[in-house]
C-alpha cells in the first residue's frame, strides 16, 4: 500500500525566503541590484565602440564577434577597423550600407580623438557623461567598472565562504587539539599584513585583477571561519547530533547533513555585507593605485581622477552615485536577510523577561 503523497509544508529555508520577500525594502533592493547586474553582464551590447551588426557592399558583418580589417570597408590599413574613424563611419553610412550601434557608442577603453572641448570633456551628445582625462567615455567605464566590482565581490565572497566554512567546520566539529592548533595557525596567518603583501607582490609580479583576487581571498575567509566554528561548537553537542551518531553515521555525514545546515545562519546573513566589503576593498586599492592596471575600468581609478580634477564633476559625482547605490542596496539586502533569519524578532508570543 502506498499512501497518497502528503502536502509538503514550507522548509525553514523557504520560510526565511518568504519573510525576506515580505520586507519590501530588502526585496526591491535585491530586484534592482540583480537587474542592474544582469544588465551589466550584457555591457558589450550597451556600450561598445563597434557596431553590433553592419552591412557593407551587400555582405553582413558582426564586428562584435569577429575582427575585420579596415580593408573590408574599403580602407587602406590591414589592422582592425576603428569604427570611430570618420572614414569608416562614412563608408558604413553610404546608401545600401548600414550599421547598428550599441545605445552608448563607446567602449571602456576607446579614446575620443575628435573632442570639441579638451579632455576631460563635460557631458555632451557624443559622450553622455563626458570623458575622463584621456578622453575615455565615463558612462561606459562606469558600466564596466560596476560589472567588474560586482563580479569581484561575488567571487571573493564565494571563495571566502567556501574556505571559511570548511576551516570553521573542521575546527568546531572536532574541537580539542585540532581546534587549538588550527586556531593558532589562523592567528599567525591573520596577522600577516595584507597591504604590504599586496604592494610587494604588485612590484614582483605583473599587477592584474587576478593577483588582487588571489591575495585577498587568502585572507577574506578568516573572520567567517570564527563564526562557523562557534556555531559548530554549539551544534555538535545537541542531541540530534548524538542521535545521528547513535544511528551510526560517519563524522562527515553528520557534519554535512546535520550540523552544517543548522550553522549557516551567520554565513548567509553576512554574505551581502561581505560582498560590499570586497567591493570597497577593490575600490580602495584602485584609488591608491595598487589595484588593477589600465585600461581596466574601475570605480577606484575614476574616484582618484575625480579627486585630481575636482572641477570635473561629471567624473566624481556619477562614480560616487554608482558606488554608494551599490553599497546601499547591498546593505538593505543584508538588513532584510538578517531580519528574515532572526526568528526571535518574528516570534509570535514574546514571553517576558523581567
Amino acid at each position: 500500500m502506498r499512501a497518497p503523497e502528503s502536502r509538503a509544508t514550507q522548509s525553514p529555508g523557504l520560510r526565511v525566503w518568504t519573510r525576506f520577500k515580505a520586507n519590501r525594502q530588502a526585496w526591491w533592493s535585491l530586484v534592482i541590484l540583480a537587474s542592474l547586474f544582469a544588465l551589466s553582464l550584457g555591457a558589450e551590447l550597451i556600450a561598445n565602440d563597434k557596431p553590433l551588426v553592419a552591412r557593407y557592399d551587400g555582405r553582413w558583418f558582426l564586428p562584435l564577434w569577429n575582427e575585420y580589417p579596415e580593408t573590408a570597408f574599403g580602407g587602406e590599413l590591414n589592422t582592425e577597423a576603428d569604427y570611430h574613424e570618420p572614414f569608416v563611419r562614412r563608408a558604413l553610412e553610404k546608401p545600401g550600407n548600414f550599421a547598428l550601434y550599441s545605445p552608448n557608442g563607446w567602449g571602456y577603453a576607446a579614446m575620443n580623438y575628435y573632442p570639441t572641448t579638451p579632455h576631460p570633456a563635460p557631458p555632451s551628445l557624443t559622450n553622455l557623461l563626458g570623458t575622463d582625462i584621456i578622453g575615455r567615455d565615463i558612462a561606459a567605464r562606469l558600466l564596466y567598472a560596476f560589472r567588474i566590482s560586482m563580479l569581484f565581490g561575488l567571487g571573493l565572497t564565494a571563495i571566502g565562504v567556501i574556505l571559511g566554512v570548511a576551516f570553521g567546520a573542521i575546527q568546531g566539529f572536532f574541537g580539542g587539539s585540532v581546534d587549538l592548533i588550527t586556531q593558532r595557525l589562523i592567528e599567525v596567518w591573520g596577522s600577516l599584513p595584507e597591504l604590504y603583501l599586496l604592494i610587494i607582490f604588485a612590484s614582483l609580479l605583473e599587477p592584474s585583477i587576478w593577483l588582487i583576487f588571489v591575495l585577498l581571498s587568502m585572507f577574506s575567509w578568516i573572520g567567517l571561519s570564527d563564526y562557523v566554528r562557534a556555531e559548530f561548537l554549539r551544534n555538535r553537542h545537541l542531541e540530534y547530533v548524538s542521535a545521528a551518531r547513535a544511528m551510526g553515521l560517519s563524522n562527515w555525514q553528520i557534519m554535512w547533513r546535520h550540523v552544517l545546515p543548522n550553522s549557516l545562519t551567520p554565513v548567509i546573513t553576512f554574505i551581502p555585507f561581505r560582498i560590499s566589503a570586497a567591493i570597497m576593498a577593490l575600490t580602495s586599492l584602485d584609488f591608491l593605485g595598487l589595484g588593477v592596471p589600465a585600461p581596466t575600468p574601475s570605480l577606484g581609478e575614476l574616484l582618484a581622477q575625480g579627486k585630481t580634477y575636482l572641477y570635473a564633476w561629471w567624473i566624481s559625482i556619477p562614480t560616487f552615485v554608482v558606488l554608494i547605490s551599490t553599497l546601499l542596496l547591498l546593505t538593505f539586502i543584508g538588513d532584510g536577510l538578517r531580519n528574515a533569519m532572526d526568528t526571535r524578532s518574528s516570534a509570535r508570543l514574546s514571553k517576558v523577561v523581567p
Partner: protein, 532 residues
C-alpha cells in the same frame, strides 16, 4: 479571611487568539492556592499578568490587590508593588539570577530599593534572609556568584530575594521543576515553613499568600490549600485540595489525576537471554585544576565500578539525580563513550570486538531516545528525512518505494499519520516529537533502546501516552529498554528491575516493587519519600 488578590474576568489575547479566557480567581490573605495546568494552558501568563510583566499581549478584565486595581495603575506605582507587595520565584534560577553579581548583591538590591536599608544593617538582613531559606554557611554564600551554587542553592537564593521585603503575595512559577527530586521536597518544605512563619509573626490578615503555578500534582497535594485547574486558558474547576483529589468534578481534572502512570509491565518468564552486560565500568574525566596550560590535572569519577545486565523483553530502570553518572553510563552502554575500565558485552561479544561492517550493524541494534524532543530532531530536515536516515544507512538494499512504505508503517506504529512526512519538527508538539524520535530508533529494528529521560519534558497526560506506547512496542517486538530517569513514578510504571545511582555508584538494585516498598539504602528512602 478577606481576599488579597481578586482576578475578575481576566482575558489575555495575542494576535487574535485567546490565551486566557474569562478567568476569575481570588486568593485570600495567608492562603496557599495552586494554579494547575499543562504547558500552554496559560498558567504562567496569568501569573505574569498580575505583575504586568507580559508584553505584546492584550489584557482585559480586572486584577485587584487588596482592593487596588492593578491593570490601570501607572507604571511608577506598579514598580513599587513588584518586589514589595508581590514577589515572584521563577522556574529556572540560573536564568533568573544575574550571573555578574553575587547573590548577596542581588538580594540587597531589592531591600535597598524598597526599604532604603544601607551598610551593615543591609548585610545583616541579607544573611538573615538566607539563613531563613535553610542555606548552609550563609555568611560565605552571600558572596558567591550564581554559577558557584547548585540548583537547589540557587533556588534558595531566589526565595530569599523574593522574601526580602516580606511580600503579601508570593507567586511561585514552577519553583521546583528544574531541581532534583530529593531537593524538591526540601525546597517545598522550606517554602511552607516560611509562609507559616509570616502568619505567626504578622497574623493571618498580614500573612503571606502564595500562588503556586505547577503541573506537579504531588507537589500540589502537599502544599496547597486550594487548587484551580486551567485547561486551554479556561478555568475549569476550583476546589479545596482535599475535595479536588478526593472527588474531582470536571472531566479534565479527572483526566489529569488519572494520568499518573500505572504499572504496565509484563512479567518475564525466565526464558529470556541476556542481551547486554556491563561489568566493572569506570569512567573518569580529566579536569584541570586551573586555567594554566600546564596545570595539574585531577580525574573525577563519573561512573565507578558499575555492573548490570539487561535481558530481552526486560526494562531496567536507572534512577539518580543530575550528576549521578546515569547518562554517562548510558553512553558507555551504547558504545558511544569508551569506559576507562570494564567491559560492555552485547550479544555475547565485547563492544570493542565489533569492527567495520559489524560495528555499523551494532549501531542499528543499540538505539537511544533522548529527553528533549526539541533538541533531538534536526530543525532543518523533514520527518521523512529524519526517520528515513537510519534506514538508508543500514538497509541500502531496499528500494525507494520499500523505504517509503517502511517509514509510513513505522510512523503509523507510533501513532502518527503519513501526512506528517514532509513537515518539519517545529510543527509538532512535544509528545508528537517524542513519537518521531521513537520512530527514528524503531525503524532500524533495534534489540535494545536506551531511553534517556524519555518523558520528563512532556506534560503528564502525554507522558502516560508515550509510556503506554513504549510498553506496547516492547511487547510487540521483544525490545529491551534501559530507562534512565529521575522520576520514580515512571520507573514504577515501566521497569522490571531498578538500579539506584548516586555519585557514580550503584547504591541499591533489585526488583522494582521490592526496592520501592522496602528501600534499604538511605538515599533510596529519600527518593521514595520525595515521590509520594
Amino acid at each position: 479571611m478577606s481576599a488579597l488578590l481578586e482576578i475578575e474576568g481576566l482575558t489575555l489575547r495575542a494576535d487574535g487568539t485567546r490565551l486566557v479566557d474569562d478567568l476569575t480567581l481570588s486568593v485570600a490573605a495567608g492562603e496557599r492556592v495552586a494554579l494547575v495546568g499543562e504547558s500552554g494552558s496559560g498558567k504562567t501568563l496569568t501569573a505574569l499578568s498580575i505583575l504586568r510583566l507580559t508584553s505584546g499581549i492584550e489584557v482585559s478584565g480586572s486584577i485587584r490587590l487588596a482592593g487596588r486595581e492593578l491593570t490601570t495603575l501607572p507604571e511608577a506605582q506598579m514598580r513599587d508593588i513588584r518586589g514589595r507587595d508581590v514577589a515572584m520565584i521563577f522556574q529556572e534560577p540560573m536564568a533568573a539570577l544575574n550571573p555578574l553579581y553575587t547573590i548577596g548583591n542581588q538580594i540587597a538590591e531589592t531591600l535597598a530599593l524598597h526599604e532604603g536599608l544601607r551598610g551593615k544593617a543591609l548585610q545583616e538582613r541579607v544573611i538573615a534572609l538566607l539563613t531563613g531559606t535553610g542555606l548552609r554557611d550563609p555568611e560565605q554564600r552571600v558572596n558567591s556568584y550564581p554559577h558557584q551554587l547548585s540548583g537547589g542553592q540557587r533556588q534558595r537564593a531566589m526565595i530569599a530575594m523574593a522574601m526580602a521585603c516580606s511580600p503579601r503575595l508570593l507567586i511561585a512559577d514552577e519553583p521546583t521543576t528544574a531541581l532534583d527530586v530529593t531537593i524538591r521536597a526540601r525546597i517545598v518544605a522550606r517554602l511552607l515553613d516560611l509562609q507559616q512563619r509570616t502568619i505567626q509573626e504578622r497574623g493571618i490578615e498580614r500573612g503571606m499568600a502564595v500562588l503556586l503555578i505547577t503541573h506537579d500534582l504531588p507537589l500540589v497535594k502537599r502544599f496547597a490549600q486550594r487548587v484551580a485547574v486551567l485547561e486551554h486558558g479556561r478555568l475549569v474547576e476550583v476546589a479545596s485540595t482535599e475535595q479536588l483529589f478526593a472527588a474531582p468534578e470536571h472531566p479534565y481534572t479527572r483526566r489529569l489525576l488519572q494520568s499518573v502512570p500505572v504499572r504496565n509491565v509484563r512479567p518475564l518468564d525466565g526464558t529470556e537471554n541476556v542481551v547486554l552486560e556491563a561489568k566493572g565500568i569506570q569512567v573518569q574525566f580529566q579536569q584541570r585544576t586551573s586555567k594554566r596550560l600546564f596545570a595539574r590535572r585531577i580525574s573525577t569519577h563519573a561512573v565507578q565500578d558499575v555492573g548490570f545486565s539487561v535481558r530481552s523483553r526486560e526494562t531496567v530502570g536507572i534512577v539518580g539525580e543530575s550528576g549521578s553518572g546515569k547518562s554517562t553510563l548510558a553512553l558507555v552502554a551504547l558504545g558511544l563513550l569508551r569506559p576507562g575500565a570494564g567491559e560492555v558485552r552485547f550479544g555475547g561479544l565485547p563492544l570493542s570486538a565489533y569492527r567495520g561492517a559489524q560495528r555499523r550493524q551494532l549501531r542499528a541494534r543499540l538505539q537511544i531516545v533522548f529527553q528533549d524532543p526539541f533538541g533531538s530532531l534536526s530543525p532543518r530536515r523533514t520527518i521523512a528525512q529524519i526517520v528515513g536516515e537510519g534506514l538508508a544507512l543500514h538497509r541500502p538494499d531496499l528500494s525507494e518505494t520499500q523505504r517509503y512504505d517502511r517509514i509510513v508503517s513505522v510512523l503509523t506504529e507510533v501513532g502518527l499519520t503519513h501526512d506528517c512526512l514532509h513537515r518539519y519538527p517545529h510543527e509538532f508538539s512535544g509528545g508528537q516529537r517524542q513519537r518521531i524520535a521513537i520512530a527514528r530508533s524503531l525503524i532500524v529494528e533495534p534489540q535494545l533502546i536506551v531511553l534517556d529521560e524519555p518523558t520528563s519534558a512532556l506534560d503528564i497526560s502525554i507522558q502516560k501516552q508515550v509510556l503506554e506506547l513504549l510498553a506496547e512496542l516492547q511487547r510487540k517486538y521483544g525490545l529491551s529498554y534501559v530507562l534512565i530517569t529521575h522520576d520514580l513514578a515512571v520507573v514504577r510504571a515501566m521497569a522490571h528491575r531498578v538500579l539506584v545511582m548516586k555519585d557514580g555508584r550503584i547504591v541499591e538494585g533489585g526488583d522494582t516493587l521490592d526496592v520501592m516498598e522496602r528501600p534499604t539504602h538511605d538515599y533510596t528512602r529519600q527518593l521514595v519519600g520525595a515521590s509520594q
